[in-house]
Symmetry: C2
Subunit: 518 residues, 2 copies
């Protein structure tokens, strides 16, 4: 309902899309840069060419004013933004679009939609920024109809408590929207996932999104003070508290529930003043392993770097930020007090591991962050150019890290059949382990991209599971990670979660297929 | 089964108990010190005078070698260590002792006990150190029999991973036991609740116990890497991971579950090297409120003091550590790097709020910690001397703190009928709020101590609930906090928790009455 429309198949807004000639050029350039054979750069899909199955239900008259079922609305809510989503959309394949997209403006309208879904026997799919990379918003459901509930109209900062440094924010607020509103109060959340431009507070909470800080407060969980959600059984709202030991935390059951227990409508989150002091540096290592040793020591040091991202040589070279063959650690500190002492200690500690600091004063972090946020835009072009471009991520304890990363990379490369490349960076660091994040770039098998990727993904996931990693550190489970998630979680917990869902959603209408069998 | 026996009714071991003459003297002194009228100091109860209802079941022959049902075992597992527990035990009132106390030495034996409880229709009460102050281990159950499962034989550190700084520890290990075993590896957990001497890792996890650190890592949750529990439906064990975004965390549902979902048997926890640097100081303020202002700024400063406990003038005077009328902040920093800079900044920040640093170099923290750990011993004497001595605690956001503390204190004092005193300290500080901890000391109404305390406790709890605090920050819910907990938690969450319990414990045999209706 916003005037600026999002690209129905890829990243960004419609008015940001590159011209076909530019895509053509960039696509060819990308293949060359990656050392792939030249190949045709295909034109982007056009909405008018897309054929959607007709909607199976229509909203009742009293909901019609905030519901849509035109092709654009349905196509643009049919997928997240994984590689397999982009490929299908690019090829015009929309097998399971929602029948209706509802845009409730408040909780009353949301409840009306849920009531209607219950009556109509439709599945209800909560939808924030639609940036899921795990099939989390795709209406592949057993019900005869699916209603996607887009929360973007609920995008306001409702209340600010400057004393406690907390704000009550609606779930549909995207990163830039909520930061802009907080800025008026001199405050900031500083939660920057790669999807920041489009993803929403509610989506972050529903998926336990990883954010800005590489250590200490690594994910949105750490900023949540209380959550409110609408379930079919009524409102689920925790008391606003700085801490509570009253039973298992109600928030912690909603956080990561990926829309299966309720539709998150708002949350109190901890905010902060913008950091008065910042330092950043790039540290080069001869290889990934000594760099990982430095990251481990940093994570165990109580120095709490805000950025501590280690790029392996392949990834460092790809970003153009480091000389060939070097691993690069992007290191940052920020806070209300001078952080230069911490940076000096950190660099010294890196030196003990053979690290060589290359620069200070923010350039490297800036360069890196810009590349980070531009990456999803680039990916649309890669798809057009026939390049398989996807990431997957995990976490593992330090004792297993070195062999783990090498093993997962090797098995993923093997699944690629020797073509393409797999690179790795550590995105988050804990005292007891780290989160490796892998990027896969390979020539796509045109026409069978999904099969190609699914094979690679399965090989990677099996390697991760076999070596004791988690199937996801911060991308969530959705529908795509289910086989490995199901093996990973404790069986009695699965039973407990299934029962908990049945208690609050007896019809099983909320995001069926995610986390649990529908 | 350990050779050294715990006092069956109060704190400490039997061989540590003071002589009657010393209790007499200390009791009289305490009344005088508190300004209460002199009163008789009653003699401690003797086990041989206690009459217990006969056990309703007996363990089958194949479990008999690790089960006990003698008077000592049953009486010493009948209560936690709340004031109402001490008073009842002191008066020889044991209405609901367990029928049998099982001491499984491993998971196989534990499973055998659970199987037997299921067959026999008995309730199963997990028991760590038995230091609950909320009725968490009291067998007030609807079943016809109750078996308490004491885990103290399962007290070993099973595995240490020095690279990831983590250890796999059995749930029955008490504080000193696990620290001693970790010390052999040059590591420490540094989780020091007041009950440290007796309480166990499993108990800490089951109750979300608050520990050593006043900021940042305030409770055991923050050190848990994975948990293993035995449920009637099988083992619930999460994968050992530094972080995972795969659905709602299985650990987070067990953490705080207070024995209703399963019996925690072991956990991987994050450990650390002992801090190389420590600094401590006492800072005096003219009143509580400016001190609280300083604590708030400290908590929002990213300085992360390890100790940051603000005592109101009444409490500061009582400990003898501060001049009359002054509030005192006990401030500590520790870490692997020099922390003197942080201390200087913190003291400067306190000065902005009128705080005057009185000493450095550890004496005040030492004095305070010693008093902190001695307090439960003293309480036995207070009970003998007819002194109502109890604490309760909560947490609330900063915007409400000042009025909140004053209001709760006032309503609690009113319920005391003008006799006695209510003091407050802040034990844990968050960027968005703090945990006020109240101490009540009053002349007991001899013979109706329970009624007296229950009235006071109800008044305090109502005041907390009405002002938006939590019914517990780290003492847990147990049976005693149920009325306020039930009002505090979101209804759909209560339904979800009830369903989750029914899924893993369909007979409702695990700690019935705790968190949920039996």
């Amino acid at each position: 309902m916003s005037k600026r429309r999002r690209n129905f198949w890829g990243w960004g807004f419609e008015d940001q899309q590159p011209r076909p000639a530019d895509v053509e050029e960039a696509g060819r350039g990308a293949r060359e840069h990656l050392g792939f054979e030249p190949a045709e750069v295909e034109p982007a899909p056009r909405l008018e060419d897309i054929e959607l199955p007709p909607p199976r239900i229509e909203p009742p008259a009293w909901l019609a004013h905030f519901c849509e079922h035109d092709a654009y609305s349905r196509a643009s809510h049919a997928y997240g933004r994984a590689y397999r989503d982009l490929v299908r959309a690019f090829r015009g394949r929309f097998d399971h679009p929602p029948d209706v997209v509802a845009h409730p403006g408040d909780e009353r309208e949301l409840e009306q939609v849920l009531d209607w879904c219950a009556e109509a026997g439709a599945a209800a799919i909560p939808f924030g920024g639609g940036t899921s990379v795990v099939g989390g918003v795709e209406p592949r459901v057993p019900q005869d109809a699916a209603v996607t509930i887009d929360l973007k109209r609920m995008n306001r900062v409702l209340e600010v408590d400057p004393v406690s440094r907390a704000a009550r924010i609606q779930a549909g607020a995207a990163g830039p929207e909520l930061e802009e509103q907080l800025k008026a109060h001199g405050l900031t959340l500083r939660h920057y996932p790669q999807s920041f431009e489009f993803s929403t507070l509610g989506g972050w909470i529903a998926t336990r999104a990883g954010g800005h800080f590489a250590t200490l407060h690594t994910r949105i969980d750490d900023f949540v003070e209380s959550v409110r959600a609408i379930t079919p059984g009524g409102a689920w709202e925790s008391r606003r508290l700085p801490g509570s030991g009253a039973g298992p935390s109600p928030d912690r059951l909603l956080i990561g529930s990926e829309g299966i227990l309720g539709v998150i409508t708002e949350a109190w989150v901890r905010v902060q003043e913008p950091p008065a002091f910042k330092e950043s540096a790039a540290v080069l290592f001869d290889a990934f392993d000594p760099g990982a040793g430095a990251v481990r020591e940093l994570a165990q040091s109580r120095l709490f770097p805000s950025n501590c991202r280690l790029l392996d040589p392949g990834e460092a070279a790809l970003t153009g930020a480091a000389p060939e063959g070097k691993a690069m650690l992007v290191l940052g500190f920020e806070g209300p007090h001078d952080v230069s002492g911490a940076m000096v200690e950190a660099i010294e500690l890196c030196r003990d591991h053979g690290g060589e600091a290359r620069e200070r004063r923010g350039e490297s972090e800036g360069t890196w962050r810009e590349a980070f946020l531009r990456a999803p835009y680039l990916r649309d072009t890669l798809v057009a150019a026939g390049i398989l471009a996807e990431t997957f991520e995990t976490a593992v304890t330090w004792d297993r890290l070195a062999g783990f990363v090498a093993g997962v990379r090797e098995r993923t490369e093997a699944a690629l059949g020797g073509e393409g490349r797999v690179t790795c960076r550590l995105t988050h660091a804990y005292p007891d382990g780290a989160a490796p994040y892998f990027t896969v770039l390979a020539p796509a098998r045109r026409g069978s991209e999904l099969e190609q990727w699914d094979e690679v993904k399965a090989a990677a996931s099996e390697a991760i599971a076999a070596a004791g990693g988690t199937i996801t550190h911060h991308h969530a489970v959705g529908r795509d990670h289910r086989p490995w998630y199901d093996r990973q979680r404790p069986d009695p917990f699965a039973e407990a979660l299934r029962a908990a869902k049945a208690a609050v959603d007896p019809r099983g209408m909320l995001n069926p297929g995610v986390l649990l069998d529908p």
